[in-house]
């Protein structure tokens, strides 16, 4: 099943990350309605809680993986030319990794001070 995994694994990953994203989206919505952070200090205090930081990082990871699977699906569907597909997939992978590291830096920054 080594070759097959890329079909089933991607599909499973998409479903699993979707569940977390949906749950976290509801949480975020309630958070912003009920206890919106008033200033930068409030944000720092919020992210200082390891539970919040880990939850947000998991959200970030789930989001990037979900985007990867979704865009990969689009490329597999519409770009039959292999070299072009490979190049676009690589570009997408690097782009998403860059987004991930950038966001990680933002989340980690207050914790490192």
């Amino acid at each position: 099943m080594s070759q097959g995994a890329s079909g089933l694994r991607a599909w499973l990953l998409q479903r699993a990350t979707a569940l977390y994203l949906a749950g976290y989206a509801v949480y975020l919505l309630l958070f912003f309605i009920l206890t919106p952070p008033r200033d930068y200090g409030a944000w720092i205090a919020w992210i200082d809680n390891p539970l919040h930081a880990v939850g947000l990082m998991l959200f970030l990871g789930a989001l990037l993986l979900h985007v990867w699977v979704g865009f990969r699906d689009v490329l597999l569907d519409y770009v039959p030319l292999f070299p072009l597909r490979l190049a676009l997939l690589a570009l997408l992978g690097f782009g998403l990794a860059a987004c991930g590291f950038w966001a990680l830096r933002i989340i980690m920054a207050p914790l490192l001070i």
Partner: protein
């Protein structure tokens, strides 16, 4: 009643065009009868048909944008002028006749026959009523091709994606208690293309003239695959 039918003959050198016909309708007239009436007006008009009763699956055509069987479609409910085109995405041989080779190739690729490891018994291979019930909604397919030719994923990747019809058939043999090649069948469907190009668009469900649900069957295959890998 006004009909506009797709005309194309590769030998003529003309581009495809829509030709208008007026047909005198009768009570209970089906689209197949109308196409036969059109053929009487113009003998060069070609379309496939056989049983005339929704069993053989020969006369599937695209009517006002939806795939359906001409023989089971009453003309009375159709919006005029009735646009009759060949099944989408398939090479046109002539008028409404398309080349279904790719579709049959995908059907053959799921090896649509029972496979046994055990030696065959002297009598039939028995099946309980409950086991037989699992095949309902799967075995009724008549291979008309309405579903696969309505599927965008099949339009984009007809060589790699098996299409709803072949996957429904794959599910039919995976669910059969008499079949003993489930693992082999699931392995054959692995990879990102054969099964997983299905994005649950559900055009197949909308057009199936037998009221079958290929999307659900595909979901059942995915569940079996998941169970086998965890």
């Amino acid at each position: 009643m006004k009909f506009r039918v797709y005309r194309y003959s590769p030998e003529s050198g003309l581009k495809p065009y829509m030709q208008e016909f007026v047909v005198e309708t009768t009570r209970g007239m089906m689209l197949r009868d109308a196409l036969l009436a059109i053929q009487e007006q113009d003998e060069s008009f070609a379309f496939r048909h056989s049983c005339g009763d929704g069993v053989c699956g020969s006369d599937s055509v695209n009517v006002n944008g939806l795939n359906m069987l001409a023989c089971t479609t009453p003309v009375a409910g159709l919006r005029q002028p009735v646009l009759v085109r060949p099944l989408p995405g398939r090479p046109v041989i002539r008028d409404l006749v398309v080349d279904m080779s790719q579709f049959y190739k995908q059907y053959r690729s799921v090896e649509p026959w029972l496979k046994r490891q055990d030696p065959l018994p002297e009598h039939e291979v028995h099946q309980s009523p409950e086991e037989r019930d699992k095949l309902d909604g799967l075995h009724e397919c008549i291979l008309c091709g309405c579903c696969s030719t309505a599927c965008p994923s099949f339009w984009w990747n007809p060589e790699k994606f098996l299409g709803p019809q072949a996957l429904l058939t794959a599910c039919r043999f995976l669910e059969d208690s008499r079949d003993q090649a489930a693992e082999e069948r699931l392995d054959a469907l692995a990879g990102p293309y054969k099964l997983f190009r299905c994005h649950s668009i559900m055009n197949c469900v909308e057009v199936c003239p037998k009221g079958l649900n290929p999307t659900k069957a595909i979901g059942r295959i995915k569940a079996k695959m998941l169970k086998g890998s965890l």
